[in-house]
Amino acid sequence: MIKFDNVSKRYGNGSVVVKSLNFETQEGELLVLIGPSGCGKTTTMKMINRLVPHSEGRITIGGKDVGSLDPVLLRRGIGYVIQQIGLFPHYTIEENIALIPRLNKWEERAVKERVRHLMDVVGLNPEAFAGRYPRELSGGQQQRVGVARALAANPDIILMDEPFGALDPLTREQLQDELLRIQSEMHKTVVFVTHDIDEALKLGDRIGVMRDGALLQLDTPDRLLTNPAHGFVEEFIGKKRIYQNPDYVPITDIMRDHPATTQPYRTAGMAVSFMRKHKTDTLIITDGGGGLLGIVSAYDLHSVGGDETLARIMKPVASVLADTATAKDALKMIGKTPLGVIPVVDGGGKVVGVVTRGSLLSFFANQWSEEDSIEK
């Protein structure tokens, strides 16, 4: 949809604020650009609607070079929402939203209808608000109007420059939720600039992390969290955030590799000495190829003779995790697991590890203590 081809922005004094950017937005995706202040994210966004002209490379929208388009017509097709909102103070809410449709010479009845519809969409009662002036509205209400105004002429693309940055946390969250709801209905291509990583993770279909004018990584929130391609990305997102959300911790980070396994033809006596040797009270029973068959606990071995084979003693495994699972899956499962032991198997059904109550606990305990030591 919007494509950056080796785009750079340098100013007359020689400073380069954006360095050969290459990326493309998908149609209908909400793409977040994030990074510390001065990283070039806002400049990148403003090059799309030519509020800032780019110096090198090509920016195309649906294949058309933005440089070849009339900037006014280009911008009419792109909604624009900014942090300072920038409503026209001398126009009513209705006139604010209706401005571009009127400039585009829509029929007056269609304009009125559009305004009412959009006010409903952004959660402002048209009866109560259409005739009011911006200063009579709270910041959150004003930015709702800002969003409605950007949607007015039904553009395919919306640019949002830290639109909720100046709002109080409660209002910000409300508007984020509304934006997600609106986006799920309208499927605009949204480029959203923020420096708030929580906002980025919540809203973004994909997130581009920028620093010093370069795009370090452009990926889905999940992949950004689990697979940061760059030390800075990891640092910027924060390890803490990752471990606060067990959704993002891969099970392979938690499980004990090389669990104590044995095969079903062994006897109970052998199993007891094996457990002693491995300092464990459960054994995973596998076939010759490492495939999961069952589980035996020390408790099961008490009541049987020493030469009973494990094949007769072992219990089927109630809970298994795939190696693609997350800590959250393990946490949900562990409470209902009889022995507190969950084998982890790979795609071929082969046992690759084991998660126990102990390993889960010590993993999260380690994260917290690490964090404490960092904060201190």
């Binding site: 509020l51 909102i85 126009y91």
Partner: protein, 215 residues
């Protein structure tokens, strides 16, 4: 005649000269209104222009400022070689004298429009002239009106000096009153001029309020 009380002198002079007074008053109003209309017609576009071409701001405001510092009587004198003696000269001088407040307030009014509002306007795809006519000018209008009001009130006073170069107006009475040492004549010229200034101030004040941006 000198021994009579001032009020009696005034009544007597008024009896004698009220048609002249009326004419002088109308002439005075004419001086003010014509020079102000020209000043507004020149000053507002000039003000708009220098908000767009920033390099012109310093020279234009500089020249208008210098004009303002020339003593009014001297300015009237400078005009004589150009326009001769009479009402045209007076109007030209009053026009130059009124430029600065109008230009300056136009610049201030337009520059005071919130940068975020302008960025939103541009980002939405408004053209420069749409931004000027639909956003900047309406939001600046009452500041511009305030400049016109200030200039007009000063103008009413300055216009009394037009009499010295044959421009007519209420200054005629003051001029004759001073030269013949008749206090009543001075007052007959000065009091209506003062009232006129107050009246203009009031009317333009109402207009200024009416042009304040809604909301």
């Amino acid at each position: 005649m000198r021994s009579e009380p001032l009020w009696a002198q005034i009544v007597q002079q008024l009896n004698m000269r009220w048609p002249d007074l009326l004419q002088a008053l109308l002439q005075h109003v004419q001086l003010v209104i014509v020079s102000m209309l020209i000043a507004a017609a020149v000053g507002i576009p000039l003000g708009v222009l220098i908000t767009r071409a920033r390099s012109l701001e310093a020279p234009v405001l500089g020249v208008a400022g210098i004009l303002q510092t020339i003593p009014s009587l001297a300015l009237l004198g400078f005009m004589i070689p150009l326009f001769g003696i009479g009402i045209k000269t007076a109007i030209a001088a009053l026009f130059l004298y009124s430029l600065l407040p109008i230009i300056r307030n136009t610049v201030t009014g337009i520059n005071n429009v919130d940068a975020a509002t302008l960025e939103a306007a541009r980002g939405m795809g408004m053209t420069d002239s749409q931004i000027l006519l639909k956003v900047q000018f309406p939001l600046a209008l009452n500041v511009i009106m305030a400049g016109i009001r200030t200039a007009t009130v000063i103008n009413v006073g300055t216009a009394t000096l037009a009499a010295f170069i044959g421009g007519g107006g209420l200054g005629d009475f003051i001029f004759i009153g001073i030269s013949r040492n008749i206090d009543a004549l001075v007052l007959i010229g000065a009091v209506p001029a003062a009232l006129l200034a107050l009246l203009f101030d009031r009317l333009l004040g109402i207009l200024e309020k009416a042009t304040a941006p809604a909301g």
